[in-house]
């Protein structure tokens, strides 16, 4: 039951993009078309789960026994970057089709703060292994939800005659603002 609450929390209330404001640059960069947004969300889901698992394992086996918790940020970045590079090469080799749909976003994810944010947050909140998994997966689903909604809205803005002063980023940011205003409706939905 407690994991269910955590899941709902990380998709709606503590949404990575709209409430925690993590991963904003892919949120604005890749959301020009729904198809690219879809590819990006799949890649983020895949990488976030893998990165959190590896960093969680590494933290509790390597850093904590030696009392080096303070090193976690650097080590996490290192691990995530090399992990992403590894997966990109693996996917490119194993299935070019999957690479075409998914892989091209991987370099964009290495510098994505949402991945690092989730990794550190799981340690901060002291989730156990299952909690970490739920948090990573549903955090990525929340990321995907916000990204897809925003991509749909931006595609819709293409056919409306936006005044020149607001063309491009300005109207998109206002849409993102109203979107997070709407998501505030979920605040207080579930404790913690």
């Amino acid at each position: 039951m407690q994991y269910l609450l955590l899941a709902i929390n990380s998709v709606f209330i503590g949404n990575l993009i709209l409430s925690k404001f993590l991963g904003i640059c892919p949120f604005l960069g890749v959301s020009r078309k729904v198809s690219t947004a879809l590819g990006m969300s799949m890649a983020v889901l895949f990488v976030m789960t893998m990165a959190s698992t590896v960093t969680w394992v590494l933290f509790y086996t390597l850093l904590e026994p030696f009392g080096l918790e303070y090193l976690r940020t650097i080590v996490f970045i290192l691990v995530i970057a090399s992990l992403v590079q590894l997966t990109e090469m693996a996917i490119q080799k194993i299935s070019p089709a999957l690479y075409e749909a998914l892989g091209i976003y991987l370099p964009l994810i290495t510098t994505n703060c949402a991945i690092l944010g989730v990794a550190i947050d799981t340690i901060e909140k002291g989730y156990n292994f299952v909690g970490m998994l739920v948090y990573a997966v549903f955090g990525a689903i929340g990321f995907a939800l916000a990204l897809l909604l925003f991509a749909g809205l931006r595609e819709r803005l293409e056919t409306s005659d936006v005044p020149d002063a607001f063309k491009g980023a300005a109207s998109s940011l206002i849409v993102a603002g109203i979107l997070s205003l709407a998501f505030m409706g979920f605040s207080g939905l579930v404790p913690g």
Binding site: E158, T159, S160, D161
Partner: protein, 442 residues
């Protein structure tokens, strides 16, 4: 509306048929000078076979077909050919046309009549239909002999005659069904004999009860008259087949895909005249109507007569006549001048006073969805209209909507009719079609 068959989508414009549905068809004598264009049908234009100064007889072939999907053109009068040069054409461009001076005798070219057509061999009949220049009279003007020879792998189950005439104002078919139903029925029998299809239907909208009575009497046991709901565009091929047989012609395909062939009642009448009396197609019933003309009426006019002469014969314009439309108000083309000839496809001459003309102010789309409900093709005029208006053509090709714009939309005008923001969606589609065709050519 139990028992009254129809399709979903469509609109109910003000029909204004009462202006001319009561008036008898009047024969209009041929004028002194007639301009007969060679492009009066879908397909390759015909090639002239006469030169300046030739003497021609009534019904003589003056232009031969320019290919399989083409149709010959016959002289509507006997007289002398004055010129063979591009002339103003109702479609708005300049097309090669043969101008003939009428000598008034109407001496008929020698022709053979057949009293018992159903004994004749079908291919011979089809040849007569081909040489008599018979084309679809419903406005599409598709050469009929092509329709009469479907490919072998497409079995045909039904022949449907289109007596719906759903276009507002027009009553040409209605008068034809009242005045010679027998000829229409015998034309239908000839078609059934040529194609060997036994199941025959005639669809007529229930706002023409007298026509339904007459045709049913003439048809007897040979086929069934299907009363249709009064809705525009009931007369469109796909919608008529759906209403009569319940089958739906898939996108980008022809009616033969679902085993049906549709002919206009006037085409059946023309086929009957060509086969039994040997008279080729050089005249048709035209409805002159609208509040811009003094005395609306239906006239039997020879192709090549100038529109100005037809209106003059009918009683002339009212003083505030502002817009001349060839065909009905929904799909008819508005013409800049009345110095254009009546051709095989001209079903009506509609003159609107300036008061009835549409204002051209249109606003942004408010996504009300009225056009989606009105579109008989269940397409998306709203999204496509927006994309085309903003010039996002690459987005249309990207979302694979291009075929819809090019093939499925037959510009019936229902979406523009109901749009509260008064958006010219048909104009957008027309523009997009030209754009995509230009892309294909490059």
């Amino acid at each position: 509306m139990s028992g009254i068959k129809s399709f979903n989508g469509g609109i109910h414009p003000a029909y204004n048929k009462d202006l001319t549905s009561g008036s008898e068809t009047v024969l209009m004598p041929a004028p002194e000078r007639l301009v007969v264009p060679v492009g009066q049908h879908i397909g390759a234009p015909a090639n002239p076979v006469v030169k300046k100064g030739d003497i021609v007889k009534l019904g003589q072939m003056i232009a031969e077909p320019g290919g399989f999907v083409s149709s010959p053109v016959h002289s509507p009068v006997s007289g002398k050919v004055i010129s063979v040069q591009p002339e103003e054409h109702p479609m708005g461009s300049r097309i090669m046309a043969i101008t003939i001076e009428n000598d008034g005798e109407d001496t008929m070219v020698e022709h053979q009549t057949i009293s018992e057509p159903l004994e004749k061999d079908p291919d011979e009949l089809k040849e007569i239909v081909k040489n008599s220049g018979i084309v679809g009279m419903g406005g599409a003007t598709f050469p009929s002999h092509v329709k009469l020879s479907p490919p072998a792998d497409k079995p045909i189950d039904f022949i449907i005659l289109n007596g719906a005439e759903c276009e507002p104002y027009l009553t040409a078919d209605h008068r034809l069904m009242l005045e010679n139903p027998e000829s229409i029925v015998s034309g239908l029998e000839i078609i059934s004999h040529i194609t060997g299809v036994k199941k025959l239907y005639i669809g007529i909208e229930i706002n023409k009860p007298d026509a339904i009575k007459k045709i049913t009497k003439a048809l007897g046991k040979k086929g069934t008259v299907v009363p249709l709901a009064v809705k525009y565009p009931q007369g469109a091929e796909k919608q008529l087949i759906k209403a009569v047989t319940g089958r739906e012609v898939p996108p980008k395909h022809l009616p033969m895909e679902v085993g049906a062939i549709v002919f206009n009642v006037a085409t059946a009448h023309a086929i009957n005249k060509a086969v039994t009396e040997g008279i080729p197609l050089f005249e048709r019933i035209v409805t002159v109507t609208g509040h811009g003309v003094q005395k609306p009426g239906n006239f039997l006019v020879r192709t090549g007569t100038m529109v100005s002469e037809v209106v003059d014969f009918s009683g002339g314009y009212t003083d505030d006549a502002a817009q001349l439309i060839l065909g009905g108000p929904m799909m008819g083309k508005s013409s800049a001048t009345d110095g254009v000839p009546v051709i095989k496809g001209t079903g009506g001459i509609l003159v609107l006073p300036s008061a009835e003309m549409l204002t051209d102010a249109w606003g942004p789309c408010i996504r009300c969805g009225m056009c989606l409900r009105a579109c008989p093709n269940q397409q998306n005029p709203q999204l496509l209209g927006n994309l085309i208006e903003k010039g996002l053509f690459d987005k249309i090709t990207e979302d694979k909507l291009e075929e819809i714009v090019l093939d499925d939309c037959f510009e019936c005008g229902s979406c523009t009719f109901v749009c509260p923001a008064n958006r010219p969606i048909v104009q957008f589609f027309h523009m997009a079609k030209a754009y995509f065709r230009a892309q294909k050519r490059k």
